[in-house]
Symmetry: C2
Subunit: 504 residues, 2 copies
Amino acid sequence: MTDINATYQLLCDQARETTMLARIQQLLEWDEQTKMPKAGGPYRAEQVAYMAGLVHKKRTAPEIGEWLEQLTQSPLAADLESDTGSNLHHLRRDYNKKTKLPQSLVEQLAKACTLGQQAWIEARQADDFKKFQPNLEEIIRLKREEATALGYEKTPYDPLLDDYEPGESTENVARILSELRDALVPLVQAIAESSQRPDASLLARSYPTDAQKSFGTEAARAIGFDFNAGRLDVTAHPFMTGLGPGDVRMTTRYDEHAFSDAFFGILHETGHGLYDQGLPREHYGLPLGEDVSLGIHESQSRMWENQVGRSRAFWEHFFPQAQAAFPAALKNVAIDDFYGAINDVRPSLIRVEADEVTYNLHILIRFELEQALIEDRLQVADLPGAWNEKYEHYLGITPPSDADGVLQDVHWSAGLFGYFPTYALGNLYAAQFFAQAEGDLGDLDKQFRQGKFSPLREWLRKNIHAQGRRYTAAQLALRVTGSTLSHESLIRHLASKYGKIYGL
Amino acid sequence: MTDINATYQLLCDQARETTMLARIQQLLEWDEQTKMPKAGGPYRAEQVAYMAGLVHKKRTAPEIGEWLEQLTQSPLAADLESDTGSNLHHLRRDYNKKTKLPQSLVEQLAKACTLGQQAWIEARQADDFKKFQPNLEEIIRLKREEATALGYEKTPYDPLLDDYEPGESTENVARILSELRDALVPLVQAIAESSQRPDASLLARSYPTDAQKSFGTEAARAIGFDFNAGRLDVTAHPFMTGLGPGDVRMTTRYDEHAFSDAFFGILHETGHGLYDQGLPREHYGLPLGEDVSLGIHESQSRMWENQVGRSRAFWEHFFPQAQAAFPAALKNVAIDDFYGAINDVRPSLIRVEADEVTYNLHILIRFELEQALIEDRLQVADLPGAWNEKYEHYLGITPPSDADGVLQDVHWSAGLFGYFPTYALGNLYAAQFFAQAEGDLGDLDKQFRQGKFSPLREWLRKNIHAQGRRYTAAQLALRVTGSTLSHESLIRHLASKYGKIYGL
């Protein structure tokens, strides 16, 4: 028994050391995006690659396999919901995944994705899918090989999805998303046909970026982000990265004539940041101290961005402050016009610019297509056509070019298959959690109107953040909301909210 | 021969890898000083310690000893001024120093210095030297042990000085600095007794910090700092750190009512930064790609700060711009009043606030005292009295408290014995190099008046920066100026410049 405990300690020490090295790599990357002078690029790339190699070596060290072998049959592993059982489950799972892939495949994939991203950039600039096609074919071939090496029962998409949404199945996601689609398409059509249209152009007036920065920072602080343990910087592509307990870095970008971009971007990253700040410190560096999945992470960002930040109640509190911060743009604007503008729904070409309603259809299209690609039901040569067909079918629009169509996202060129659906899962979890929070906490709108965000934040902290990775996303949803994940809460939220705005 | 070349490659690869890891540690430290949220401190300390351990392990790996043994007698080591010979000389030297110290001594010193710095902070706050005395006694005991382990012929101060000024001897430094002292004390006295006094108070008017930042940045750019390969941030204690080829980070601090602090601080760090940006890239990560010594590094910062930045010619170019940048403070100020103000000389208590002339006496006092401490000619208990005596003797003032006297500097509490004299050596090298540059390039003042700084910068780049560590400081001075280091150029510069300002 003492031996087993000592072995468990060795395993945990190694895991914590690996996390620490991974966090150093993340600082190198954060600095590269936010602060590094341009000429520092080549050396930084060497440093990042070196640290990534070190992390990989630590994660796949043969002694981990030996320790796990001793521990898996021990009493420490018996109860999956105990601290030791949960950590061992995840550490074994990660180790097996990491060591199942032959080194040659890992290297081929890394190379194919580097070349793939270069080709994708060129293809997008030239609006010429053919420049990217052979690279994508090679990447998909390797991802299928990866799926085979990892093993699967039903579909090669399963082990890829599992990288981002552990324990989730393609079958289940496909079922939920198709139900979502069936409810969403008529709603989008009804909105598109409505004669009531908000005037979104008021968000393109002049919003000085300094004022955007302080207004956004104050909003992040108001909903609970601890700036003593985090910061906000500027990057071309916004993100959140947790560099350590007490060190959460968020980024955004400011455009004087696009109020929504930075503001809702900040709320979004703050949602991610609050999750990170709420993870259980005592387990830092071990699986129990980490987030559940990308879908659960996204549920936190989406909830603060949409359910909270795009609600009328939120702006009943913040709009007077916004008018004071941006007098030139908002002095004579009525709150309902502003509320309409930030909730303007219209079918559009670009995912990252899409509204709360149509966003999910952009994801659906990608999920259906990448599943077909990985299952060899769709050839890469036929992808642009299939893409355009689905945009016509679900959103009623046809991309005028591949650059604004199938070539718009970086994900596939970077080998990220199975990643897209987590965005929609995040929206679904957000709606389901929010409905439950409302049931538990009473009238949230009333609280938001008074500028009170701590009840919701503490509810999330207790029920979701502080759980770390003890449960899978599905288990967590069941424990917190009493139901498995479904499309119903999200559809109810969207139908009710947009029914009012668009007079449906 | 092939074997030897392969071994040399192994050694160089290891050195470059070690440098890369050390640079990652420096990024962790830079970020801690400039950007990290406060709550990130404890984890960051663990990361820095981890990386420092990794660097130490790489630097002292036994295989390095084996490689060096093979290579030392080989033809690659024969010519000390060849690339291979120079690299091998330094790598052997560093390895021997690092491996001569028993691990237990390294650990005791690390611990004593951590405790020492904590005790020093408390003692300074309480103005109570006794709180620090036992810690300093322990540190000095261990530094003497260190000197014994490293070995020395004449004085235990020699191997300590050698850490910062490789190849330099205590005897030589003592001789030069005592000659400097004998010429400096009467000059300081004459200035103190002069009836001509500039009005330095105009530098305490309102200089908005945003304008200080842009004016300082533009000056740094004008003298040649490449902001595409570096940046400038704010810290409590200004410094420069080279994070990689193409990535030089400088810091400063702004006080609205202290123009000189930030501006000359920026010029100073820019001098360090130009040196780093001028080092030979092709040798990056190896000794040949590094700076010569702290003294030579300081000569670069001091030259741009003092010989250039505090010259009248420099301000004939920049003063109109300064008046435009700070109209409230400088609109009605004559250039000669401004020039006098930035060259106000007066004996003072605090080293870091001292002027160009008296600064060297502050260093002398510390050098003489720390030499006596390490040679056991002075007991720690008697240090405050000895300190005050020397301030009275050299500068004509007696510190009213130990907090503003013997407790003002962090160095001794951090075990940095042998570091102080490099500040004065830097001033001496700066004056000697500058005199030579003037001989080679003609009337530098005339060039500065026209805003032309590239001739001096390129001269420094070619003669000093691009040489990397091929020569010792003494060899470099002899090669560049034809003379060994002496106090004469500095005294000539000071006597001439301040003779005019103070009508001596």
